[in-house]
Amino acid sequence: MAPGRRLASMLDTALFYIFAALTLGGGLLTITRRNTVHSAVWLITSLLGVAGLYLLLRAEFLAGVQVILYIGGIMVLFLFVIMLVNLEQVVKEKRFSGQKWVAMACVGAMVVQGLWFAAEGAARFRLASPAPAGGEDLGNTEQISRVLFSQYLLPFELASILLLVAIIGAVVMAKKRI
């Protein structure tokens, strides 16, 4: 392997671990912080890590969507709602409900799966063979738009109806008197 390629591969690996740590650490802190605003900020960290992973996977358009829509849109909505409901009382209350055993069962299932994978070895699980390189070399955004506006046109339009329903639903729910 050429030294330049090896350096790029090593950089990819290092960046993957950095972004994975950001994603998982942010997620863990999100579900454990007492203060809801802190949770929201850690969730933003986690979402930024996911956006970095999208960049590593050469999905530039999705990375932009992640930052603009998730962090700029959804998280600001969350922060507004956190400001609307009272903060002081929640900080003093009990954080966790009594469903620890169900959660422990989930962790157990995950650990068993991981151990089984480690025991069988990666060779048995042929996930997907990589596609051959080549073909049209379009930009990521252009590729997505070509498929989205031809093959997935109907789901795309249905998504707009879904968003319209969600807007009306949110307004009806949050309004005092209809």
Partner: protein
């Protein structure tokens, strides 16, 4: 260092999914439950985009876009319900909303 394979992404996504599930199951605050749902949806998206990259096929990324759309709709409606709930019951704790329980 080893190069990154789809297995890495699958494991990261599974771990993030479990973190989100634990958040949904154990937290009392409804806002944090909604945030945990966002974590779960992100775990799914990581998987979709990783396999989209592996197969050099953008369909996975398009599914991820639809998942993000759903996440936006879910957050808007969920937070609207939360505001209505807070107005009526003065609480944001999931286990205090037990009108249907007996």
């Amino acid at each position: 260092m080893h190069p990154i394979t789809p297995y890495h992404y699958v494991f990261l996504s599974a771990a993030l999914l479990v973190v989100g599930t634990i958040g949904v199951l154990t937290r009392r605050n409804i806002i944090i439950i909604l945030m945990s749902i966002e974590l779960i949806l992100n775990a799914v998206n990581i998987n979709l985009v990783a396999f989209s990259h592996q197969l050099a096929n953008v369909n996975g990324q398009i599914f991820a876009i639809f998942v993000i759309t759903d996440a936006a709709a879910e957050a808007a409606v969920g937070l609207g319900i939360l505001i209505a709930l807070f107005r009526n019951k003065e609480t944001v704790n999931a286990d205090e909303v037990d009108l249907l329980k007996w």
